[in-house]
Subunit: 316 residues, 2 copies
């Protein structure tokens, strides 16, 4: 009977690892550096060695483990094939599952995209507990998404499922998104996007605002909103208009029970929902109107929880 | 060993039924009227009686059947609960699976939304054969959708998954959609939507067009497009701009391998794709740029095929 599971979240500079009981109790959490040199060829061996050492350190046996789940920053399909992960130096398609199995003989291994895996973590132990249909939205430097349907990750045909930051939401945009397109949701709803909206508002208006005095960031914008700054409130309204419309579209497509909102921008708290809801409710299909909004609760640990959950299977 | 399966597609006026081998060979197809009187309470007993008679007529036994799948025009969740089906007179939530099981003792029964079930049919034996990730788009009086992820139907938390006709695609719309919102995809990409776009173009322009002479319908518009009518071509471009953007958004969310386009409008043929692709390629996330377009091939039989496939399980 397997008692433990390991979740691995591979980032561009650090690999986070977590050892859990199959019930999701944390036994240990640790980190190792991500060695991206030599086309990232050291990353998976480093992870395997680190897991083996941790197992020994706890006097556990490999047989006690249900397996190792691993999330990576790039598209991963249902079969565990990584199509590319430029931040890790991985330029070619390969099976992360087969590679890790050779490094950890006898272990079950599963892989997924990091944003999708984080969604699974929030479903298991975070803001979406108890839901089998949810969309996790990460509002950070970019906008990421992870979609869970019937307790299973929606990876898509080439691992690009849940790329909600790049849905087209504005026809009249003159600045390109990082992806090369124009008018992506990420250009308005990410931390960077909020700064852009604020800069535009500061230029277009001569209204007084605390944002004129210091740093303009997602945090200072929402701090100003909470202090009643009318210019900042207009920025929040523009942000909420775009994000509310975007989430309404996503709700029409996948009909989730809840949107779990995480990432740096979500530190502003539930006030975000006050700005998202008007456009959401105005444009959403009535069958999805009751979709809830919740804050993510696992923070940076969502990835290791979700990676562990990859091994444990569907919602239960 | 089960040899046969029955697929049922319940429409507002007619119930279509099909008896298939488990490999999808048609044994018989037939129809019965949909009796919507008395809150639609006769519909399921009528279907059960008709299936029993067909089994007897073929000298089959109930034990030869893997089960009965049934698609209905309303939201159906993963557990087979119909939330409402106004066209059938069903006002209250009930389990179509439990009800049908009582009417067909010993039979396995599964239920789904008709548009979703039709998508499963196109995956099994139609335009999406061999694909485990596809979106079926029905361009008829309205715009319907059915999404298959990893070989499984995406029903959503309340059975409203795949309601792609009602994603918000235009901010500047003054006419309400049938759903009550403004600017839904259905207002531009359905047969009715194409007629609206044509009427607007005919009013706004004084260009000569064959559309000025007779009936304006999706068919006459695309017939005129094929004859080189420049006004009709502008209508097709407007249609393609909306639908291309809409499908690009959907591709960004679910990353299908193929869009299978059906419904009356699809009778225009592959020329539709020429008008959809420019906006699709301009706005889609690069990870989903290779999504293919295909025509649905099962026509009105998609529902009975898909309902039968509900019983046979996932993509195989």
């Amino acid at each position: 009977m397997s008692k433990y599971v390991v979740g691995v979240d591979v980032g561009g500079t650090t690999v986070k690892l977590g050892m859990f009981t199959v019930d999701g109790e944390v036994i240990s959490k640790w980190e190792i550096p991500t060695r991206t040199e030599d086309d990232g060829s050291h990353i998976l061996p480093d992870i395997a060695d680190s897991i083996k050492r941790e197992i020994v350190a706890h006097n556990f046996n490999a047989e006690d483990f249900a397996g190792v789940g691993i999330g990576v920053p790039g598209p991963v399909d249902d079969k565990g094939v990584v199509h590319k992960a430029v931040n890790l130096g991985w330029q070619n398609e390969f099976s992360i599952v087969e590679t890790m199995k050779k490094l950890l003989p006898g272990m079950t291994v599963r892989g997924g995209n990091d944003a999708n895996v984080a969604a699974l973590g929030e479903m298991w132990k975070g803001g979406g507990q108890g839901c089998e249909n949810l969309v996790a939205v990460t509002l950070g430097t970019g906008v990421g998404g992870g979609i869970i349907v019937g307790g299973r990750l929606l990876n898509g045909s080439t691992g690009a499922g849940g790329e909600i930051g790049h849905i087209h939401i504005e026809d009249n945009e003159t600045e390109a998104c990082g992806c090369g397109n124009y008018g992506c949701l990420e250009e308005y709803a990410s931390a960077t996007g909020i700064v852009r909206l604020a800069r535009r508002e500061l230029e277009a208006s001569s209204d007084p605002s605390s944002l004129r005095d210091g740093e303009v960031s997602a945090k200072t914008v929402f701090d100003a909103v909470k202090a009643g700054d009318t210019l900042a409130i207009r920025v929040a309204e523009a942000f909420g208009e775009y994000l509310g419309k975007g989430l309404a579209i996503i709700a029409g497509v996948v009909n989730p029970e809840v949107f779990v909102i995480g990432g740096g921008v979500s530190k502003a708290g539930e006030i975000l929902f006050d700005y998202i809801r008007p456009a959401f409710e105005r444009t959403v299909f009535h069958g999805s109107r009751d979709t809830r909004f919740a804050l993510a609760t696992l923070g940076n640990d969502a990835g290791i929880y979700g990676a562990a959950k990859l091994i444990l299977g569907n919602a239960d």
